[in-house]
Assembly symmetry: D2
Homo-oligomer: 346 residues x 4
């Protein structure tokens, strides 16, 4: 039984994890902390949990753990895990961090994308980029895992097989990424106030979004050399879901079905990636509340481009679900535990 | 292991049941039929099921059952089960019907609310009104269960304890009921076309909605005499959820907390009813995709009215979840099997 | 040409008024103030106005008016106009207030519903309740008009003709009122954060909402005696729109068509009230972005109740549009000026 | 006074035009026809128009025009205007067609994109592609105008100045285009049934969408040579709005502000194009229900790409509004007549 502590438990990232852990056969939650809602039972903060979990939210620094945890999840903003991870690691407690703190290989790279200078550069050496489909063995051995950015999961799962195979002109990559609003977190802000967001969609951070950096780093590993992408994040008026449209020029002629086969082969041990048939693209509702990433693969013969549409639930495969998948791997469990379901429709 | 056949499998009512059955530890689906999508694997009709269920939809009348079923669910429109139920019952197969065919005690009552004259009046005698919280023992013994209307579940769970206790002036009852759009089913219609429904809400069938009839029948049983309610159904632009506001004049002075206690006592063996604390009303998102019915109970001292806000998911407690709860009872299983979860948020 | 100043110009109530004034043939905006966005052109705060209005938002107390205004609108929270109205009135400037400050006839009544004790009780004597359809002549003479609450507009327009005619048992009145989210204003709050509000509906302030007070006061005038209503406000996931379902017991038998005729006669000089044919209820999308209030009138013969469904746009007839209608009357203009349009569909 | 006839009046394209014409100072609607809703007053089909227009819908072929029209709008599917336009043109009546029938310069080009072979190739010679900002003078002289596809308006307004200036590598063009659901029309279909569409977004026709053809044709004119684009249309859950993200490699180094100046200069006589400041992208809510197209222009220096975000309302600038703008030009009127407003917010 893996004993779990969640730091930042009351945000969407924390609660999504807790929801899954409550039905996980090999895990037990031993502590929840957050700066908000301190002292309240979590089922009061999230009334849908009434009757299922009465753990109280504790203040960070003053918390009492029911039992010593085996793993700590940081479902916290950038800059927190950087400060706090070390003391858990030193006690032999594994750490999974949702933020950008440990996603880059060097402090220099980190500092190029984030405003807060890195304060624990030595930990970057042991940190593993936590995308199981691309990094499974390293995650199994890791004590410190950086859970990827939600957009990065969509883009990397959609591009990696083609890039690894050398199919794409690396100077031609464009990622046009749409997300539901929950990706921005639980805190009310003007742009996501219901009347301002309903019936609106817009692009933001049109250049320079941080997820571009980690996509380039990881994709570059598979390409064998550095590369740069254009990445335009957009918000659309739905609660959950990312749809990334990935464009790249083909360096050689190829049929769509060959590419689909290549992808199926690449992901043959990855149960959460589903390569869809032909050009069907059922969209984010088909992956909502599940840990799946659905890929639609099309070759635009007229323009010699590979177009991949990558759909996932930003709060599951894009965040808490993927983090739990990491935990499963780090503790030698079947990576599907607590995650093997299909959402509900509609 | 209960072997299950679903007639009308590709509608929202059918698919919601299938979703639950796929993870039910004591059930196995042996046959799916529908007039639509015949021959297709259900995972093609509903792509979120890809990898989880490849049963093909069969044409009614031509279907081959993998094994003889123990129970048949009719997730069909009014008038179908009336014709088809008998042949299953005669083979010792239990029947659970979603429609209005078997909800009324007599054909006369049925015909007063429905345009199709009843063709199997004798079956009405053995049919049981399938609301477990109010009729649990009868359901356990039943071979033919009429799953209630979605609005009726909300209204009956919200009113019955007060009516049974004699708290309410029976001539004063008003049910103002709002539903999400999935309550109208899967078939595209003009009023629920996205651009027509998004940003719209309206009332329909302002008098004469059929669910009023079954509410009156069942509530009348607890009251010990006939009663009539005003019932105004409304559609609001969300996918799932019913919120019924129930108004009734108190015949004696009572404090809200007393009423809440009365309700908690009444439902002490009913795990899916949650009486909320004080005047809190988190709304339908707290019950979405779960089988819970949340009740908020308020006494308006100024006007001497009891106001109960009853929230549920129309596709779960209002339909497929309740139907499965009935199946569990009919086969001597824990009524929570396959249903004991809490949805996901947000 | 009426010169207009708007205090609280950057909220939804302010901007909705400004939008209408920009195309009003007899009005000119001379000053905008607000605590927020000071110094910015209003078209930067509201980009849809780019190219149409470059007035800057000024800080209250430091503002410079382009010309001395003829009328000041307070699109401000409760408590502001109470403090500020007097100095405008003393200069002969008319005042229209959106808040609850001047809606009650006495300070005592006000203080029974609002937490802030009234600081200008003498002004209440000259204040006029600004619902043109029910109070047109008084508004024409007024210098200080209290624009009604959005729910109150829906309820009063829906009930007054029947109450005035003595059709209803005054102890039986129930108002079940659903509103879109913009009714809560522009400020981001947790309950209206998009992921929390989308796919949710809930009741709030189930007893004691302030609009109940003004409905009772005004309706009581037409009834000729005090009355009390039950009033349950609810929020549904759309941006604009109120649908109030109004229930009352009939004291004598009457046909629906008679009641509709009574209403049509009552509102024969009120172009913004539309009594719909038969039981049709197209809903809030038919009045969105317009100043209309659509009434659907039904008699439930089984329960001897009159049911009126009253639909309007909470930001127009429920707020800024009605306020402008008041201004038109106060300045001897056609009350339709700047308001005579029908929204757009869908 | 321009007398107008609308064929296909009850679809979204027809009603959007009618809405505008009812307040147009120089136009008068003399006839409405449609296959649906024949005999009904249009205000019954569209209840928001109650009190504003009681014209009845007439059956095509049996209609009686109040007066002979000066112009006929075909708000009809592909293939209708091809058959019907000639008889109007022969009577000296101008024609504006919403469909794809007259957008291509040759029947061959048409037939390459559309399944119905062209039946009036000779008319193609006189047809003018009706995008006023790019073709104003030709439209002024035209008798037969092909109103552009909604996506094409967004893409062409966003790309043309850069292409005309020779800034872009023509082999690098990618248009990622998101639309609201009204773009698919009024007819209920499974994919746009509210429960299926709400909370879903997906791509469709990932290669081969017809609007790609007209974008290539028109953009090729400005480029001086043929070109091909990748074009991926997507549907997101809002009623109105298109956001197209346009990507192209820069052939020379340029600063974003220079490009913005170039665009402002290019559109200096085009009041409905607004080049936004810096990287601000308020999104489709800022153009909703207006005839504006807002352009956000960004240079991604890292990848040497020009990124243009083009936002418009698919039913206005993407359809009926643009069509009316064409009419204004064809009749020597100010192109802003009936169109010079800014929607409403929120």
């Amino acid at each position: 039984m893996v004993r779990v502590k969640i730091v930042g438990a009351t945000g969407y990232g924390g609660i999504g994890l807790l929801e899954r852990l409550l039905s996980h056969p090999e895990a037990k939650v031993v502590c929840l902390t957050d700066l908000l809602d301190v002292g309240q039972p979590i089922s009061q903060v999230y009334p849908h949990l009434t009757g299922f979990c009465d753990l109280r939210v504790q203040a960070p620094g003053e918390e009492v753990e029911e039992e010593k945890p085996d793993v700590v999840f940081f479902a916290t903003p950038d800059g927190v895990a950087m400060q706090e991870a070390r003391r858990y690691l030193e006690q032999g407690i594994k750490v999974i961090d949702y933020s950008g703190d440990f996603r880059f290989r060097t402090a220099q790279e980190h500092d190029a994308w984030y405003p807060i200078p890195h304060t624990a550069p030595d930990l970057l050496e042991q940190a593993v980029y936590g995308l199981p489909e691309l990094n499974r063995e390293a995650i199994r051995q890791a004590n410190l895992v950086a859970n990827p950015g939600c957009f990065a999961v969509a883009a990397l799962l959609g591009w990696t097989p083609a890039v690894a195979e050398g199919l794409l002109d690396l100077s031609s990559l464009v990622c046009d990424a749409k997300t539901g609003v929950s990706g921005a977190g639980k805190k009310p802000v003007a742009t996501h106030h219901f009347p301002a967001r309903n019936e609106n969609m817009n692009a933001y951070r049109i250049v320079g979004h941080r997820h571009a950096g980690e996509i380039e780093q990881e994709l570059g590993r598979w390409a064998g050399r550095p590369l740069r992408i254009s990445f335009v994040p957009q918000v659309v008026p739905l609660t959950r879901g990312i749809m990334a449209c990935l464009y790249g020029r083909l360096v050689r002629s190829v049929r769509a079905e060959e590419v689909r086969e290549l992808y199926r082969e690449f992901y043959r041990h990855s149960p959460f990636v589903r390569v869809r048939e032909g050009e069907e693209c059922p969209g984010v509702l088909a992956v909502r509340m599940s840990n799946f990433c659905d890929l639609t693969i099309v070759v635009d013969q007229r323009t010699e481009r590979l177009i991949v549409i990558s759909c996932l639930d930003n709060l599951v495969k894009g965040q808490a679900g993927n983090a739990l998948q990491n935990m499963n791997l780090m503790f030698g469990l079947d990576e599907r535990l607590g995650l093997w379901d299909f959402g509900k429709y509609p």
